[in-house]
């Protein structure tokens, strides 16, 4: 039995899922169950809205994904502060910031696409340059830029420092996007939940979406942060090999020269 479990033809469990732990597996299962509930309630069990009709079902993924993007960019900003603060400086904060920004960009993209589809139903157009949509698109592009800056060369510390400064500046855009609906009164509707526009099964479905997406966010950031740790270690190994090779070249050159 033991021989079967450690067979050389199949990888060890740690290599099949190298970034998972018991906690992350439980979290992943909980997120999957939540998403299943969201699909069932969002598409089948919740009623149509009196005004928006079927279009309200898009809000069950649009609102949670927007909330997740805000949360993700907030975590990126706070992790960047933790990195820049000398007492808590650690590359782990930088990796959490990078992982959270990536997941935030994913959810912001989902927010834009689902919002466009909802806009086509409600406004008759996929896109309009109103304050909420424009600031959201600007936030999306800003964090794509942040990810590009993370990919520039240099040491891990250089990457962490420059991206942390950018993340703190970018975080200032989040309240601008959120409050744009009250400051400029654009075409986009203002807060659905805070104004009590949803109730009963519709409100329940929205909260299922928020909880499911939040669990998914934690799972994704946890795994992505661990992948970034592995990639940094692979980078360090490559650097160590290059230093040894360079030293050997110098030693060989000294031995050959008279």
């Amino acid at each position: 039995m033991t021989g079967f479990m450690t067979s050389t033809t199949s990888p060890a469990p740690s290599d099949r899922a190298p970034t998972s732990t018991t906690f992350s597996r439980a979290l992943g299962i909980a997120a999957l169950v939540g998403i299943g509930w969201l699909i069932v309630f969002g598409l089948f069990l919740s009623p149509n809205d009196r005004v928006q009709k079927t279009g309200v079902r898009i809000l069950y993924i649009h609102v949670p994904s927007a909330w997740l993007a805000y949360l993700a960019f907030g975590v990126t900003g706070l992790s960047s502060v933790a990195y820049l603060w000398k007492r808590t400086r650690s590359l782990t904060w930088d990796r959490i910031a990078g992982a959270s920004a990536e997941v935030g960009v994913l959810f912001m993209g989902i927010t834009l696409v689902s919002g466009s589809l909802w806009g086509r139903i409600s406004w008759g157009t996929y896109w309009t340059w109103d304050a909420r949509l424009t600031t959201t698109a600007f936030l999306f592009v800003t964090y794509i830029g942040y990810l590009a800056v993370r990919g520039l060369g240099g040491t891990h510390q250089q990457r962490a420092k420059r991206s942390a400064v950018l993340a703190i500046l970018a975080m200032l855009e989040v309240p601008l996007v959120h409050f744009s609906v009250t400051w400029w009164r654009p075409l986009h509707q203002n807060e659905t939940v805070e104004n009590g526009k949803l109730s009963g099964l519709m409100l329940f479905t929205l909260f299922v979406g928020i909880i499911a997406f939040t669990l998914l966010y934690v799972w994704l950031v946890l795994h992505r942060q661990r992948v970034l740790t592995l990639l940094d270690q692979v980078d360090d190994q490559g650097l160590d090999v290059a230093i040894v090779e360079r030293r050997n070249e110098v030693v060989n050159a000294q031995e050959v020269s008279p």
Partner: protein, 47 residues
């Protein structure tokens, strides 16, 4: 139930969302497997 009038938009938004999340998840897991082959078990703080 979903009315037929807006069904393509509603279903499309769910498909884009979950296919996008699914592809990103697969990318993370593939990168993890690839990188883990080069990093010994004792260098993974979570394991």
């Amino acid at each position: 139930m979903i009315g037929m009038l807006y069904a393509p938009y509603v279903i499309g938004s769910y498909v884009v969302t979950f296919v996008g999340i699914g592809l990103y998840t697969l990318r993370i897991l593939a990168q993890a497997r690839k990188a883990a082959g080069q990093v010994p078990l004792q260098d993974r703080p979570w394991s």
